[in-house]
Symmetry: C2
DNA sequence: ATGAAAGCGCTAACAA
DNA sequence: TTGTTAGCGCTTTCAT
């Protein structure tokens, strides 16, 4: 049933040698126009397509990149993927995308599975579990094999390779400062993503901004937990006990849940409480009111990572030349913050 | 630099033949325990991994499935992908995921690119543009080559292959009936996704429910457009001119935008106007208030498609045995609809 | 128990 | 201009 035709069959049918066919199909100058045409016509007629596998085996190159995504349901990662996709496509590279579900084992297995000649290089984001375990041998042995890796978003110093990251401290700092400038004095921080250095960095940025402008951080204004369970209760509890006029939510979900709580309590946003979110995804845009948020340029992150990797694969950059690219962020003002600005 | 070791190198190092190594590594009974151990130890020591490419070339099987996703930013598709991923993983299949961006050309190119021995079969969702053009040759020629395809969500009768779909008419019917039972009398329909048969089906279900229960459909209560531009204005306009107490939004985005408009106008949901959405994604869950919605079981859709394809690939189902699986939906009640029920 | 050789689909150096 | 041959990494049949 599988009717795919091979070079060999063409050769037999036309009574020429295999290499003549190969050359003709590759439009080699060695072959006469006549034979070329004959062969090409026959190939076209029978919808000949070169077998990629055989080509890859020959070239030791697959023009395929392995992508590791911790979680495709996270809008940010989906957007990064799009960026990678765009560049890969332009440059004629295939993507083999794998979802690790933030599991260490899945990550190890996936890398194992793809490290057999299937892919030329990796673009990866480290899974939460791996980051907690701090076990990176699977990445490092790939690098030792000479397969380049570009890490994005979640990185670690123990993996020596190209990286594309967000400046979390600075972005959080700017977000918090923005709230202060718009007149907020009691700024809470809410997080449903914990345990990762990148979240630690965001908290650091928040604390830094407060301190810088003479505000003493108040532990009662900081709610940090992993996952959303029980978060609404904790927010309600905080609002019952503490004066709050600004909230910095360090991830999409905490932004959404916080907004739901405030709306339910009939607290006006931004008049009574302002909110600034992080990662400006789909939730920020469509919530009521639309949330001001730190935009992360996921697409650029993906493009940058892909470009770097492909440049390496094509020898434009030396394998040993390691680089960390920091993608800027930008605060997008929407309706959850006041326009009023205080100059410090 | 690329230190990956081959069977040939092992043979040379140990002074045995290539085939002995091959057999030893495959634990063949032909090889003596002693040599086996020697070879296996050496292989382990040097982290030998069989080259997948060579194996695939040999077996004419890649254990890789090509996935076509129109748009990864749509939460529903991301969830389908997860379902596929889960099953593929269990069965030891690789996924090569491609995003078509709802473009005809990209879809054709992708299929072309992968139809060269790279993949054993496809799981695909037809792109919007293709569906509009009604050109399906690229799918059909793949099928003719003997490569199985399973289509999910968006399908078309001119492509004769396995399909996994949602019963859109019935689901929309149930959603509308639900609004009527909760006491709504002037039920609007809002859509930002047009031009596809599946959306047509949802409108059909809505109209069917109205008619069935003796309500004459009112064109002024139906807002259908492609994309979100200008939608809020149209909704506001409708609310200014028409009495409305229920809204059926046939996609996630229109649900989100409608909610934003109602909230802005300070119209209480569900007291003044109830909303039922479709596709129960992340927007429904996190909006204010959380939206009652037709849940589509994206994960099940993905699993079903993957299972069907793999069964075919492994010969458990005949290639000619074509089947359409309908995945049920379920109305999830949240806070955008009244609890009050009227029995008809 | 071990090895030689052919072949999967293709390219490329070399020969004719 | 065309063909022969070896080889990419591996499996498998058939000798030995």
């Amino acid at each position: 049933m599988n009717k795919r035709i091979t070079i060999k069959q063409i050769a037999q049918a036309l009574n020429v040698s295999i290499s003549t066919v190969s050359k003709a199909l590759n439009d080699s100058y060695e072959i006469s126009e006549e034979t070329k045409k004959k062969i090409q016509d026959y190939a076209a007629l029978h919808k000949y397509k070169p077998n990629t596998l055989a080509l890859s085996l020959q070239n030791k190159k697959t023009r395929t990149i392995g992508i590791l995504i911790p979680n495709i349901l996270t809008y940010y990662f989906a957007r990064v993927l799009r960026g990678i996709e765009k560049v890969a496509n332009e440059k004629g590279y295939n993507l083999i995308t794998c979802i690790t579900n933030d599991s260490y084992k899945k990550e190890v297995d996936t890398i194992e599975m793809l490290s057999n000649g299937t892919i030329d290089g990796f673009i990866a984001c480290i899974s939460v579990e791996t980051l907690k375990k701090e076990k990176f041998d699977h990445f490092n042995s790939v690098l030792e094999d000479g397969t380049p890796i570009v890490l994005y978003d979640r990185v670690h110093k123990d993996i020596l390779c190209d990286k594309v990251v967000t400046d979390n401290v600075k972005s959080a700092y700017k977000a918090t400062r923005f709230l202060m400038r718009s007149g907020c004095e009691n700024i809470a921080l809410i997080s449903t993503s914990e345990g990762l250095n990148i979240h630690e960095f965001r908290v650091k940025g928040y604390l830094k901004a407060l301190t810088k402008y003479g505000v003493v951080p108040n532990d009662n204004l900081i709610i940090r937990q992993e996952g959303e369970e029980g978060l609404k209760e904790r927010i309600n509890d905080m609002l019952d006990k503490q004066p709050v006029d600004g909230i910095f939510t360090i991830d999409e979900v905490s932004g959404a849940l916080t907004t739901q709580v405030l709306n339910k309590r009939n607290i006006h946003i931004p008049e009574a409480i302002s909110i600034v979110g992080f990662t400006n995804g789909i939730l920020s845009r469509y919530s009521t009111p639309p949330l001001s948020s730190v935009n992360r340029f996921a697409h650029t992150t993906g493009e940058t990572a892909a470009r770097r990797l492909i440049d390496k694969l094509e020898g434009k950059i030396d394998f040993e030349d390691i680089n960390t690219e920091i993608i800027r962020t930008q605060l997008v003002e929407r309706d959850s913050t006041k326009k009023l600005f205080i100059k410090f």
